[in-house]
Amino acid sequence: MKPTRNSVALACAVFLLAAGPAHAGRSCEAKRPSAQTIEKGMNLAERTWKELEASGNRVVILARAVQDLSKYGLRYSHIGFAYRQPAANGEHVWRVLHKLNHCGTAEAAIYRQGLGEFFLDDLWHYEAAYAVPSREVQEKLLAALLDERAVRLHHKPYSIVSYAWGRKYQQSNQWAIETLASAMSSTAVTRAQAQAWLQLHGYQPTTLRIGPLTRLGGRLGSANVAFDDHPSEKRFSDRIETVTADSVFAWLERSGLAGPKMAIGLR
């Protein structure tokens, strides 16, 4: 839609100036990655695999850092569940269950990938982080990841800043903790029930301070950015509450559901 109002045009101009080229969504255009990207990503996957193997754990919450979020006080951008999956030969492999957005569209899907794929991206920090759930949580979580509960609470409409307590959209980290809730409680069958469990157990989302011009620019420039699920009183006071990797790690430790976050870097 062609902007006709000065305010919209100004906002767009500011957004473009600030953010560089904007497109209707992330391009799925294939390109050759650099050799260094592959080497570092696979080396991080290998180090993570070795550490998880040596730990004796069966499932952990695993994070990567694709974006520089330091201005928000955040280090990691995306979480998934890394778990030991039984293999046909009696051995096991480590797989990551996580939710991925498709090429900047307003939709996402659940994927089960190798540790390689999890880190094969142009990472901001070549550093992984993980939290080890308590034994009880690991047992319940692993059972859920291996049955239909792994995808039960997945909601396809996606916004990267979806409201933590909303149901219109669901971003990736939000799917992860709602799935954790459904694993922990037999009564957390719907997203609303899972969110109630999360509130009862003290989860607190990150509040991002995002002003009106940036909100407008983000919405106009991106199919996967929406704010209309946030309550008006919060949205119009620039408070965007969403689920972040760092807030999940802090909550897991605070609640005793998991131990402290541990980092894995490249030497």
Binding site: F15, A18, A35, I38, G114, G116, L208, T214
Partner: protein, 142 residues
Amino acid sequence: MKTCLVTLLACASLAFSAAPARAHSEASALSAVSALPVASVVAGASVAVPAALAVSGAVLVVKAVEVSAHGTLLILESASDGARISIDIAGSGLAAGSLAVGTTVTVSVIGSGVVLSAAGEAIAFLPNALGKALLSNERLTY
């Protein structure tokens, strides 16, 4: 630089600030990098990893490129001893199909396999047993 869209979290950098030095992937995006073509040495090689692929920094030269519906067959020749190896790259075109005969290919050996690159761009990854265990891609919902 990736051409990916600057996401809200990136653009939420104050609207009046300078453009970020690097444009990175979105936090939860399906990575285009993960489409890295996985390759294998064509059967017939007498050892699991030919000598030409065993040393980081080794240089090979593209002698032939055969593109088929199945993938791309690359015939490479070692710049040091003239030994030839054939690499079968699964999938379509992106990786090696556009390589010209005479292109120099560099070998990089890592713990999970061998990365082949041309002018700094990865054209194929030959996973070893560990590399194969680290790679899997399955979409569960539609």
